[in-house]
């Protein structure tokens, strides 16, 4: 069959390369995909689209944006609207030239035969694209997001097939956290929370945290709970990181900032009264 004595099924070119790739997904991508899935035409079972992002210097693929590409899928054939894909790509590049194609996504679990064809198409656009599957079935009450890269299976010298190998995926939800998860999680929020409400919620959360820690420490000291060394170390580090200032120095620091803020408040209140005076001149002043 092959030239060598032993034919070994090789995962090549080298598994070391593929095992270093990880992917990071921003929450915007998930939102976009879900929105496109909800709006898909009736006869389509799944939606397919392009992923945009960049490759970070340490090799991770940062997936930041996405757009859907209309496609038609028959039993064995897949037709992709390539012109649409290129137009959208050009438009997106005009806005942010640093976001390039890094892969493609499809909804629905599992990788089908059609996916291999699409993956080949994307391989022509970008070397080693990442394939993201977003499971929208929620059959077991779970939403799964998985990422794959294609790995070539070769037998000796011949290329047999391409295998989709899963790579670790990091869902960075930092942006979503920044916006506020409560807003993004529920189906409708009546009013954006004002600053004061945000601070209030924050205080309550801190209080719960501190109470939990207190209880844990008490339990550990009295022997009710199993002591965990790492947790204890983290706690002592946190407590030790409070800057040690002598009380007068600390008071002076706090009072100085307090006075600065008060001064600014006073200035801005004066400006506001000045505004009402200016308004009088603007509108009410009239010629005799």
């Amino acid at each position: 069959m092959a030239a060598s004595d032993r034919t070994v099924l090789q995962f090549g070119p080298s598994s070391a390369v593929t095992s270093n790739i990880t992917a990071k997904v921003h929450p915007l991508v998930i939102f976009n995909i879900s929105d496109c899935y909800v709006r898909r035409p009736d006869q389509a079972e799944r939606v397919i689209g392009t992923l945009l992002g960049s490759v970070l210097p340490d090799g991770t693929v940062d997936i930041r944006n996405s757009y859907v590409v209309p496609h038609n899928e028959f039993s064995d054939q897949v037709a992709l609207d390539i012109e649409y894909h290129h137009t959208m790509l050009k438009s997106h590049l005009k806005v942010n030239p640093q976001e390039v194609i890094v892969g493609w996504f499809s909804t629905g679990l599992g990788v089908t035969g059609g996916s291999a064809l699409i993956h080949e198409f994307y391989c022509r656009e970008v070397p080693n694209p990442v394939h993201l599957t977003v499971g929208t079935g929620f059959r077991n009450g779970e939403g799964t997001v998985k990422a794959y890269v294609s790995v070539n299976l070769s037998l000796g010298d011949r290329q047999l097939a391409a295998q989709f190998q899963e790579i670790p995926l990091d869902l960075r939800m930092i942006e979503a956290e920044r916006v506020g998860f409560d807003i993004l999680k529920s189906t409708s929020v009546d009013k954006l929370p004002s600053d004061l409400e945000g601070m209030e919620v924050l205080m309550e959360r801190l209080l719960t945290l501190i109470n939990d820690i207190y209880k844990y420490v008490d339990d550990t000291v009295e022997g009710h709970a199993v002591p965990d060394n790492s947790v204890g170390r983290i706690l002592s580090e946190t407590v030790a990181s409070l800057p040690k200032l002598s009380p007068p120095a600390f008071d002076k620091l706090v009072n100085d900032s307090l006075q600065d803020q008060l001064l600014l408040l006073y200035l801005s209140s004066i400006t506001r009264t000045q505004l009402s005076l200016a308004e009088k001149l603007n509108t009410a002043a009239q010629m005799p």
Binding site: H26, P27, L28, F31, N32, S34, D35, C36, P41, R64, N65, P70, Y84, T87, S91, K94, V95, F138, G141, G143, V145, L171, I174, E175, A176, E177, R178, V179, G180, F181, I183, L184, K185, S188, V189, K191, D195, G198, M199, R205, L206, L245, P247, F250, V254, S257, Q261, L262, L264, S268, S269, L275, A278, E279, L281, N282, T283, A284, A285, M287
Partner: protein, 339 residues
């Protein structure tokens, strides 16, 4: 009674004037897109288009797309306009093909580096949009504010008030017209409440992918102690604005002085004419239109001062807010240290 369909349609149009806009309902997707676009390209000014549906008192915004940055191109104006128009057409066509709403309902922008968005260009953009679509809204996002106060502190939805619109269309910004309509600087822009809605699929994803945590990044952002850079830049802008305001007020002062001087001159002429009439001589012309001294002096427009007062009010409010926040943070630190 059974009138023709056309008559019925015409009559309902007259009776039901379009209800006023009260709420803007966005999707979480739109918010994330806006925030991402503004943050990626800050601190420069970025704009984008809002798409959605207009339903009664609610304006639903379901999608948006960003505009490419024109300021980087140094081509002739005509070329950049063409490129911009082509881009917009391409995007709208693509979005329509993928079943997204392609109905323009407004635009979004981030705050410019000068610090405040209230300018004549802003109003003009609003007027342009109003010509084409009935109801439009502008969403403003300030990335610098959100960095300090967490999440969506810098997000606002604005529209021009109707009375101001009428005034702008007439182009008359004299003191009299402002007094007639009883408009003060606070009546120019109206802020609308924003409601957020998410589809069930998206909320299911969010709930499963990220378990409930006690604290998160937005809390981290809120607890930051240093608010000095923001306050410093605000005070700087405030100073500049006060200078502008005093220039405008000086203009008004000169105008009034000129008008009084002109009137005094006319009065003098009149007295002289009375004296002449008594003496039986020909009266001198009172108002000589060829004499440049008598030309009616145009009243300076108050539009600029309205906008400047708006900006100043904005800066003051911001300072107030940030200073208030710092108080709570400082007291938190104090309490921690005392223990």
């Amino acid at each position: 009674m059974a009138t023709s369909f056309l008559q019925a349609a015409a009559s309902t149009e007259k009776v039901n004037a379009p209800p006023a806009l009260q709420v803007v309902q966005t999707e979480g997707l739109v918010l994330l897109k806006i925030i991402k676009h503004c943050k990626d390209l800050s601190p420069s000014l970025v704009t984008g288009q809002l798409l959605g549906l207009d339903i009664g008192t609610v304006l639903e915004v379901t999608n948006c797309f960003p505009f490419p940055n024109h300021q980087q191109e140094n081509d002739i104006n005509q070329e950049t306009d063409d490129i911009g128009a082509n881009y917009q057409l391409d995007m709208m066509r693509c979005l329509r093909d993928s079943n997204a709403d392609s109905n323009v309902v407004g635009w979004y922008q981030s705050t410019p580096p000068g610090g405040c968005f209230q300018s004549v260009e802003f109003i003009e953009t609003f007027m342009n949009y109003k010509e084409n679509i009935g109801k439009c809204v502008c969403i403003i996002y300030a990335p610098s504010r959100s960095n300090i106060q967490g999440g969506l502190a810098g997000l606002k939805a604005l529209k021009l008030s109707d009375t101001f619109l009428e005034l702008y269309r007439n182009g008359n910004f004299s003191g009299e017209s402002l007094r007639d309509k009883n408009i003060s600087w606070a009546d120019v822009f109206e802020e609308i409440t924003i409601r957020v809605s998410n589809s069930a699929l998206v909320s299911a994803f969010m709930s499963t992918l990220e378990p409930d945590r006690v604290t998160d990044q937005s809390d981290h952002d809120r607890l930051q102690i240093s608010s000095k850079p923001l306050l410093e830049s605000n005070v700087e802008f405030l100073i500049r604005c006060m200078d502008d305001l005093s220039t405008e007020q000086k203009k008004l002062k000169f105008y009034f002085k000129d008008v009084t001087r002109q009137q005094a001159w006319v009065q003098e002429r009149r007295d002289e004419n009375e004296a002449r009439k008594a003496a039986g001589e020909d009266p001198l012309p009172e108002g000589d239109s060829s004499n440049p001294f008598f030309k009616p002096i145009p009243e300076p427009s108050r539009l600029e001062s309205l906008l400047i007062t708006n900006r100043i009010a904005d800066y003051c409010n911001q300072i107030h807010r940030v200073a208030g926040h710092s108080f709570s943070r400082l007291s938190l630190i104090k309490a921690l240290h005392d223990d």
